[in-house]
């Protein structure tokens, strides 16, 4: 029952994420909200100059997306490891109470 619930929750999450892409009333460039906020600032104050630059910037969008993927993979990989360990070490429970 519990695993079924997780599946439904994951399905709901997937629908929520994909809905804006497939329903035509949600239109846009799907650029980052962070960038849009910065665009609003530079629009209202065209003379503003950021006073500090990032120490290192990924040389291309591809490299940046690789690093984001690495970040997600590290997080998901470790999370999966902990979940597996916890399940492996959990005492066998025979609670088929349909909870």
């Amino acid at each position: 029952m519990n695993n079924h619930r997780s599946m439904w929750l994951l399905a709901a999450a997937m629908i929520l994420v994909s809905l804006p892409l497939v329903v035509p009333i949600f239109q846009g460039s799907f650029s980052g909200a962070d960038d849009q906020a910065m665009a609003v600032i530079t629009q209202s104050r065209p003379d503003y100059q950021p006073w500090f630059q990032p120490l290192w910037t990924p040389p291309s969008g591809e490299v940046a997306s690789m690093l984001f993927a690495v970040q997600a993979a590290l997080g998901a990989g470790f999370l999966g490891y902990v979940i597996g360990r916890r399940h492996g070490s959990a005492p066998k429970r025979d609670d088929h109470d349909g909870d």
């Binding site: 929520l16 980052g32 209202s44 500090f52 990032p54 970040q71 997600a72 997080g75 999370l79």
Partner: protein, 223 residues
């Protein structure tokens, strides 16, 4: 919610560092105490960090036609209390500032305040309140994660509004403007974060249907 490098005026940048610093120091102390007193919780601490690492890398499309990402700080805040997330969240923000040019070092104080302090504290408060109101664990976890996520983005909106008041309508106008970009975009993503947090909490605890399983997670009770 990342304020880009160099985009906060110097005095704001310094101010937010000052506001965030005591929370991070308290977080380090709390983290050390947890590791010392309940070493069995180390694995779960790392899992809480891994969850924010994962979720804050996922930029998702939203109904406003722009993309943003969840924060993943609610899970750790529910299990360990909000203090530890100030440290774990800061590590994530540092990684992104240094390797991804996402966020920044000068804006780190402000970004830590929104993502690693306000979000987790709101999550924790909602979690406690929902428990008092008799909500089920699942419902409490969902709203804790969801409202913490929203609170982070509203904080960013206020931070930007304080630094860049609207030329005609002042700070309130600017809050509405930045809130329109961040908070509205974030609504469906906050719901997604709530759902994912429930699923992962379930997977970690075997079944997060009971309070004692959350206590097992945080190492207060040996699982």
């Amino acid at each position: 919610m990342h304020i880009m490098e160099g985009f906060l005026p110097v005095e704001h940048a310094i101010g937010w560092f000052g506001v965030s610093a005591p929370f991070v120091v308290a977080g380090v102390m709390r983290l050390r105490r947890i590791v010392r007193e309940r070493p069995q919780a180390k694995m779960m601490l790392a899992a809480a960090g891994a969850f924010t690492f994962l979720l804050s890398a996922l930029k998702m499309p939203s109904v406003t036609g722009s993309c943003s990402h969840p924060t993943g700080t609610g899970l750790g805040a529910v299990v360990f209390g909000p203090a530890v997330m100030s440290v774990l969240g800061m590590i994530v923000l540092l990684f992104q500032a240094l390797l991804l040019a996402h966020g920044g070092l000068t804006t780190l104080g402000a970004n830590v305040f929104s993502m690693a302090i306000v979000g987790p504290w709101v999550s924790w408060g909602v979690w406690r309140l929902a428990g008092k109101l008799g909500a089920s664990i699942t419902v409490a976890v969902f709203f804790a994660a969801m409202l913490g996520d929203l609170a982070t983005y509203m904080t960013t909106s206020v931070q930007l509004a304080l630094a860049y008041p609207d030329l005609s309508s002042g700070i309130p106008g600017a809050i509405a403007k930045f809130g329109g970009i961040f908070a509205v975009t974030q609504l469906p993503l906050a719901i997604v974060e709530g759902l994912l947090t429930v699923v992962v909490m379930n997977a970690l605890s075997g079944r997060a249907g009971k309070v004692d399983e959350i206590q097992v997670l945080c190492g207060e009770v040996r699982g």
